[in-house]
Amino acid sequence: MDHLLEVKDLEVKFALRMGDLTAINGVSFTLDRSERLGLVGESGAGKSVTGFSIINLISKPGYISGGSVIFEGRDLTRLTNEGMRHIRGNLISMIFQDPMMTLNPVLTIGTQMVETLQAHMDISRKEAEDISLEKLRKVHIPSPEKRLQQYPHEFSGGMRQRIVVAIALLTDPALVIADEPTTALDVTIQAEIMELLLELCESEGTGLILITHDLAVVSQVTQKIAVMYAGKIVEAGQTEDIIDNPRHPYTQGLIKAIPDGRNPGARLNQIPGTMPSLIDIPPGCSFHPRCMIRGDICRHESPALKNIHGYRSMAACHMLDTAEKQAGANVTK
């Protein structure tokens, strides 16, 4: 079957004076047309770097040192800058966390939208404005004709992010990568933006990669989840499987660490320690120093992401049998 996007053994390194640091270490996943994937993990897991490397936006000293990103049959890692420009912002667009940083403060919204369209299509300003108006209506911006003439600071935070969503969808891309699109927003606005994003992706058949640390947000929007830890995918599968039935000890810990209101006042499950920095990623399984069920093998052999017997998800863990018992014990408890 032909995937919309196939990331294969992606490896990203940062060349520093002390040597090369591996930020992404063999990440593979696929995304079909109009499918939505959540890339989840804590800071430093490499989820944003993965997102950036799909559209080849890794800036020096970082570079893609291995693997491939096949999008609609073409390997994006081999494209020239010129070739990449036809893809970026056109077939694949990106939404970032802070709309104030994404939008140019000295240009009107209209100018920025027309500019984007004219960069990718041979159309007149009038035609571009018409498309812009239509997209602004789609993201529920009231009186878009007037709004087109305004500057980013004249909008509220939630509206700005809706405009960023409109710009991302201007060229009817096949794939949108949204990197923490609601992290800077209040919860009521977050709900609004997420609903909008979901609605638009569904109606336009757009694929979505949602990068976030918030499992609850992902669970509302995506069909698939990939959990990242220290530059690797440690667990991947259907959203409901990952949330209801996590297999990897890190995913299990992460989900149990979220206060869900079911046991107010109880001690939260905490994962000891913190995510390792790229400078000293532990040998073997990079999660082993924080893992409660590690065995000897975890210290020196890195586990591969593989199918779990009896489950639909994949996990990278040597101790899956133990993890299984652990999960079972928790269910009965």
Partner: protein, 337 residues
């Protein structure tokens, strides 16, 4: 009636942001007039906190929750209202008179990187408050106390000579909690203490805060926008909107049967890990600016249940039975159940 550790009555805090004299000048109908621009951050807020409880103040950005906390601790002089600490009035005290209360009331901030002095070692940071409040204390006693508190918050005491930048985000937040605990406070205000942290580290810090409360009988005022954290740790919750408290209720009541229309919308917007695609209540419009507050109920412009009275008359926080207070005309009149 339980006794009150903190009692805030009709607190008001406004900020004049008009700038210099020239910036205040404006031309209206051919005449030059002087105009002041005032941010009405906290308006007529009344709250009390029982000893040993955790009161969470929640609301979205700009609702005045941090201003309320700072005014309570005397970091901002209030423009109106009264603040009582164990029945002693503490607003308007001089710095000197405030000193004994400062040792009893401590604060933890959101970003430990900004609240810890980068040029002081952890040891120096932790020694400073205790030496300041107990000038006669001996050096060895201070050292012992620092080591004890560091152990308690889970930072190895032998790291005392390190600087804040040498620690991880979670460790730094532990250190700022340690600093607050150094003077053995009764009351701690925590302003978004876990908002900047990853969820696995957030759990560590929340556990630490809950442990410290249990061991020391601390009273917390927890300022946060994260409602799942609120549900987990607090005994009562105050919901703020545009500088006013719109609902104050025990946590379980608030989450199970929110009263105020704003609380209902806010709670419905929390994404639930296990309930995919649940419906949230969409609010119309945007939060008005606190510079130009709407008349009547501050929420009426966005409220699905507002009527004429709501746009004229400010609702007061009414008792709705067992410690539940709601400021809403619709509820008071029985229009909204």
């Amino acid at each position: 009636m339980k006794n009150k550790l903190i009692d805030i009555r009709n607190l008001v805090k406004h900020f004049d942001i008009s700038g210099g004299l020239l910036e205040q000048m404006a031309l209206r109908n051919g005449r030059i007039i002087r105009e002041r621009t005032v941010v009405r951050a906290v308006n007529d807020v009344s709250l009390f906190i029982h000893p040993g409880e955790t009161l969470s103040v929640v609301g979205e950005s700009g609702c005045g929750k941090s201003t309320l906390a700072r005014a309570l601790l005397g970091l901002y002089p209030p423009d109106g209202g009264e603040i009582y600490y164990r029945d002693n009035r503490i607003d308007g005290l001089t710095q000197q008179q405030m000193l004994p209360y400062r040792a009893k009331m401590q604060m933890i901030f959101q970003d430990p990187y900004a609240s810890l002095n980068p040029r002081m070692t952890v040891q120096q940071t932790l020694e400073e408050p205790i030496v300041f409040h107990n000038p006669s204390i001996s050096g060895s006693e201070v050292k012992g106390r620092v080591a004890e508190i560091m152990k308690q918050v889970g930072v190895d005491p032998k790291w005392g000579d390190r600087y804040p930048h040498e620690f991880s985000e979670g460790q730094r937040q532990r250190i700022s909690i340690a600093r607050a605990l150094m003077v053995d406070p009764e009351f701690v205000v925590a302003d978004e203490p876990v908002s900047a942290l990853d969820v696995s580290v957030q759990a560590q810090i929340l556990n630490l805060l809950m442990d410290a409360q249990e061991q020391r009988g601390l009273t917390y005022m927890f300022i946060t926008h994260d409602l799942s954290v609120v549900r987990h740790i607090s005994s009562r919750v105050a919901v703020m909107y545009l500088g006013r408290v719109c609902e104050l209720a025990p946590t379980a009541n608030l989450f199970e049967s929110p009263g105020h229309p704003y609380t209902r919308a806010l709670l419905s917007a929390i994404p639930d890990l296990y309930d995919h695609r649940h419906k949230y209540i969409k609010l119309k419009g945007e939060v008005p600016t606190p510079i130009d507050l709407p008349p009547g109920c501050v929420f009426h412009g966005r409220c699905p249940h507002a009527d004429g009275r709501c746009s004229r008359e400010i609702p007061s926080l009414n008792h709705q039975g067992s410690e539940i207070y709601v400021a809403c005309h619709a509820i008071e009149e029985g229009r909204l159940k």
